[in-house]
Symmetry: C2
Subunit: 214 residues, 2 copies
Amino acid sequence: MSKASDRAYAEIRGLILSGDAPPGSALTEEALADICGVSRTPVREALRRLQSELYVVRSDSQRLFVADWNAEDLAEMFNLRAMLEAHAAARAATRISPEAIAALRDNNTRLAAAVAADVPDVATFLMENRAFHEIVITAAASPRLATMLAALVEQPVVRRTAARYNRAELARSAHEHGELVQAFAARDAAWAQAVMTGHIRRAFHAFSAAEPVK
Amino acid sequence: MSKASDRAYAEIRGLILSGDAPPGSALTEEALADICGVSRTPVREALRRLQSELYVVRSDSQRLFVADWNAEDLAEMFNLRAMLEAHAAARAATRISPEAIAALRDNNTRLAAAVAADVPDVATFLMENRAFHEIVITAAASPRLATMLAALVEQPVVRRTAARYNRAELARSAHEHGELVQAFAARDAAWAQAVMTGHIRRAFHAFSAAEPVK
DNA sequence: TCCAATGCTATTGTATACAAATTGCTCCGG
DNA sequence: CCGGAGCAATTTGTATACAATAGCATTGGA
């Protein structure tokens, strides 16, 4: 995508996710253009994207507001993500290349090391975790699925979830990743799907425990 | 949504679906703007939408082409639709209002009548079928799900599927809709989900039979 | 004092002009 | 005849100006 609209997208997304633009607050194209240092045109493109990903919503007549996700919305997001990412894992199991399996193995080695450190290295965990899931989605080779999941995997949510994991839970994530690799190596779609379902749903419950229903 | 960009969206979508803009052919913003009688700005907005719905794809560097779905893509579309719409049915089962159930019942009465006519009224079948599924998705009350399904339910695909149904198959659709209504009335999410899964997957196989793998 | 209507302001939608980038072609050299 | 470099033309990206529309406030009247 183009440079200015990409920067605008990242900038505005950052504003929303950091809380600088709180849920429910109004956004105007011009103000955002000023903040991003670009004109309204790329801002509009960025906003269309954010709208399709439900970060922002349009009011009765086209005024923009930061989306306000409630607990139920988040639960539904996790449901959908579990369903779709498990499906991605199943597809990946029959399509993934040996090289990608090796990459997953390497990735999980690093992730496990980050967990096993004296002080668990959460930043590395998050990075490797994201990379792991991305490799799986790529291996699933379904552009539609990738598009849908992109709108569903909110890194801040992942972050908050991981922040609440204790070492045992982080280790369990590493173990589940390892089991996924085994399932891929065995080309067992049903196994991969089941492990991924559990993996995501467990993350949901960790998240819910960390962020109780308001 | 705005007027001009809406018209552009509908116009361009029509070009693609009618085959006037064949799969793989290049599109330029300016040419489309001429065709639609608007400037490039609303055309660009329309193209973003069409791109997110995978009607058009961007080449290595931002040039636009009409998407070329192969048999595998279509199969994956049906898979995803079956999964998501079954999930929608499950959600709807526990959320749908008595009024909406009544509306579904009425809808299915009309659909069954269209099927039972001396010459099956396929146009009415298609219209009522679409309305039926829309009521279910609305009852599911998940904006994310609705967004995703919107990008997945291609009316032309539905049309080609229905065109290949004989009377018995059309009647079976009506019957399945009836069973879905029963599941909703019973508030049985698992039942609704199972029936919807079968309903969509059967449509897929009817479609595949009509349009064999090239 | 409350309601309504009207004018003003703020915000979004569209058009156009211009800049950047990419493609493809032509021309020159080997 | 083939290949590469550079230039021209096409196409996309961005900015800005203008138009339309919705919201809001103020003022006038009952």
